[in-house]
Each structure stands twice: as C-alpha cells, then as structure tokens.
Symmetry: C2
Subunit: 302 residues, 2 copies
C-alpha cells in the first residue's frame, strides 16, 4: 500500500455545490464562504463558473464574486469555463486555473451538451490553448467515469478514451468523477487505472459522490492507489440532480475526518471547516449534509 | 489483498436497532421485520434481548417475538443475554446463539455496567458454560474497540486484553465494535489485528457505526484483512446514544451495496431488503437512515 502522507483537497462547494440552488445566494455570502474555506486551510477552491446565466442563473454573479473576494497567498482559485466565450469572460477575473469538462458516457454527453464526447473535447481545444498561453492552469473534469444515469456501468476503456482526448488538447490534470455516486472501490480503482494510461498519479484527482454512501470507501480505494488530490464540497453542498432528495458531493468534513483519522495531513482545521459549513447551511436554511459536522455539532451541544 | 468473495451479514436491527425506541414497537411488527429480513436473504438476525424491562422496556416482548416468528432453515437467530437470569429466560425460547458483551474501555465498563472489564467477563463465565452445555453458540460483543465517549482513543492492547478474557471463558467468536463511530481504517485494522491474537479471522466480525460516516471505509479496511462477517442494521435503525440526533449503526442496505458492487456475494436481495427497511421506517414514521435506500427509492419514484 502506497497511501500518501499528505492530501490536497479541492473544495467545490461555492461552484458545484451551489450551482443548482433555486433561491439566489447573494455574492456576499459566496465571498464569505470562500474566505471561511481558505481560513480553514483549504488550498484549492472552485469558486464559480462562466456559463450562460440562462442555464445556470446561480453563477451569474461570477465577476462580482471573483472581484470581491480577498485572495490568500498559496491558494488556487479555479473556475469552470464551458467554452471560449466563457473563458474570455473568466480570464478578466484572473483565475489560477480553469476547468473544462467531458463525460465518459456518450449518452450523457449527448443529453447534457448535445454533442459527442470527441466533439466536446475538440471544442475545448482553443480554450485550453488560450489558457496555457496566458499561464493559466487547466484541469479537466471527467464525469460519469463509473456509471451513467442513461447507460449504466461505464467501461474503463471509455475513461481511458476520454482521458486520452483530454491529454491530447493539453489538459494538465484530470478529475475522475463518479457523478451519480454509484461507484464502489474496485470500479473506482478501474476508472483511475484507465486514467493512469494518460496522466500520472500526481495529476489525477478523485471526485466521488455520496449518493449511495460509498464516497469514503471509494476515497480509501483511491488513496491505496496513491491518489492524493480529491474534490469535495463543504457541508456536502450540491444534491444529486439524477435522484431527487438524494445526496451528491461528499462532504469535505467527512473526507477530512477520514484522512486525519488515518494520520494523513491536509493542512485543514476541521473545527473551522465545520463552522464554514454551518455558515452556509444556516444561510440555505437546512441541516448540513456532513455526518461529521452533525456528530461534532451534537457533541459540542453536549 | 485477500478480500473475501463471500460475506455473511448479521442484521441487528430488531434488537440493537430498536432497543432505544421510546414508543413501543408491537411484537407483531418486530416479527414481520424478522420475516422480511430472512425473506431478503439474511442468514443471521439478532432478534431481541433478555435484559430487565426496567432498563430496556422495548425488549420486554422477547418471548412473544421469539415464539411468534416463523423460523427459516439455515438462519441463525441470536439474542443478547446480560446475565444468568437473562440466559435462563432466553434458553426457553431456543435461540441459536447468545450474545454476551464487554467493553475495551474501563471507564465505559464502569459507567455502563458498574464493574471492571475483568469482573464483567468473569460474571459471564457461567452463562457461556451453560450455553455451551446446551449446544447454543456464543458470540462476544466487544464495544468501544476504537474509541470511548469517556476515555477517547482506545489502545489496541486493550482490545487484545478484552479478546483474551472473552476467549478465556469460552466465547467462540467476537464482534469488533466501533460503538461511537469514531474509527477510521487504520485504527479499525489495529483493533482487528489485536483481536487476531486470540481469535481466527473466521471468528471475528466487524460492527461499525456510521456516526462520522466512516462505516463503509472501515468495512473496506476490514475486508482487506480478510474479515467476512459484519453486523449492520436494516435502515440504519438505532441512533447514537452518545450524540443525540446522530447516526448509529451502519445501514445493512449500504453495506450490501458496497459488497455487491465489489462482486462479493452476500445471498441478499437488495430490493427486498430496501422494502424491509421501508416497512420498519414507515412504522417508526421517519425516513430510512440508509443512503442506498433513499437513492433507490428516489430512483424508483422516477
């Protein structure tokens, strides 16, 4: 077992976590959330996206959030860019990294963005080129790497194919995402194994959803392969659009608890992180999706 | 990795899961739950306990439940016996196995049963002897093997000490329980490793609570040591008495999903199990504690 001694977490709460909220979340609240996450020790934060407000109204305040937040040295701020137009808007706000995306499932790609996997990656080529010319890092989010709501199980070969396309256009690192949370350890390891055909272990991050409660066992399985970058969402922000009322992103608090319990360093202060989660959960008016947060808060309440 | 290809699950829902319910659950409902669990393929069910109804009023119907249920060939029905008096009442109901218990934490032992660990095990000696003379199997539940609400972390040496005492009085197999759910993979593996000093891997079962969401990663860690017996509770029945409102027992549905996803046989029909969970959750008037059940029900609802 080559379990890493340090792990880097990328909190996607402000973007992925909040993007489907029906009620608008004020930019000031998002900025405060970013501030609280970096104060808790997060070194990577996915802040917002530059998608048409027609499709994702919750992210219409991208410029306001990016301009309004106080950046902290050593923290990487990433943003999602769906196309060249989005990239051109994003670059004005000086992100450290842009995120492009693709699905390992053809059916998902067609239903989600109305084109094939190959076409979707090809369209990102000029975005990636522009970002690299501007000295901005590029991450590729690979969705449905284990299962797809339309196709069911996804073969590792499809993941390797997508990873190869990403590599081909110059993407520097990729997320292996279990978008609908159906993965279990061996399947997740197969998806990571397929990704290793094109990216080194240092350039692969795990992004596991907790819809079926499997995210932490999948995290352990990925750690055992040497993966040391993971995405998660404070308070488990972000439900599952494919199963109403079900859990989506794994909670950052739960991942941190696992890692610290295993003696793995994250640089994160769990108490401050729980407070950040309570801040946003309080604003949204619902309990945290983090079991660790709920247990620690119950303990604090005595 | 010597991950087993088959796993045996012991559903503790009817006993451990329901014992702290404030509202009485009718014996007929408990019987129906046992019937549904065995119809779903469970081969071991912890049915009830023979504790004074003054302390655990919910289990006062032990005789009614044991006499009223229809036993299925090949299913092991176990009951908790706290002392010789409890054993003598239990034996009339012909359980296949009795469960005795002890804590790996002195403070917990003192607070919970008002005596030292050594005294508590010594008192069980005549119970174990009587059961073995009667041809009844004996399981030892070892609580607080990772952490204790009073002492904090528990050293593996304390687990080995307790396991040795259990072995000394003739206990045939033991549960390594993380009673307050604070365990993480390496700590749980250390507790199991300590237990292996006295019991073979076939005589060790994992009993992990999901209070901090860690139960499935701990299950994976135990599987990797070769453990193939686990306890769980349908619908996650049974909260955590040490953290109000927090989760206790891991849901059987969630464990089954993990195992089946890894290609490990359990003999359990997950759909029928989800239905059994819905039956009891409906009776208790609250949503299932199982993430798998919630996700599958959301999917069924379309």
């Amino acid at each position: 077992m080559n379990i890493p001694s340090k792990v880097r977490l990328i909190d996607v709460g402000p973007r992925d976590g909040l993007q489907n909220e029906k009620q608008p979340v004020p930019a000031a609240v998002k900025i405060e959330l970013v501030h609280r996450l970096q104060a808790a020790g997060l070194k990577e934060i996915e802040v917002t996206s530059y998608v048409s407000p027609k499709w994702v109204p919750q992210m219409a305040d991208n410029h306001e959030v990016m301009a309004g937040m106080t950046r902290q040295g050593g923290v990487r701020y990433s943003v999602l860019t769906p196309n060249l137009k989005g990239y051109e808007a994003a670059v004005l706000d000086k992100p450290d990294e842009i995120v492009v995306f693709g699905a390992a499932s053809e059916a998902f790609s067609q239903k989600n963005i109305n084109c094939s996997i190959a076409e979707s990656i090809e369209r990102f080529a000029p975005v990636v080129a522009a970002a690299k010319a501007a000295g901005i890092a590029v991450r590729g989010a690979m969705s449905c790497t284990v299962g797809c709501p339309y196709e069911g199980d996804i073969a590792p070969e499809r993941v390797a194919y997508l990873a190869g396309l990403m590599k081909g256009i110059g993407v520097e690192r990729v997320d292996v995402a279990d978008t609908i949370g159906v993965g279990t350890p061996r399947k997740v390891q197969a998806a990571i194994g397929a990704t290793l055909q094109h990216f080194g272990i240092d350039h692969i991050s795990g992004h596991f959803h907790d819809t079926y409660g499997q995210a932490l066992s999948n995290t352990l399985a990925a750690l055992e392969m040497g993966v040391w970058n993971f995405q998660s969402s404070v308070a488990g922000l972000g439900g599952c659009p494919y199963a109403k009322g079900a859990t989506g992103n794994v909670a950052t608090e739960d991942v941190v608890y696992l890692l610290h319990g295993m003696g793995i360093e994250t640089g994160i202060d769990l108490d401050k992180l729980v407070d950040a989660g309570q801040f946003i959960s309080g604003h949204l008016g619902r309990p945290s999706g983090s079991r660790v947060a709920r247990a620690l808060l119950a303990k604090r309440a005595g």
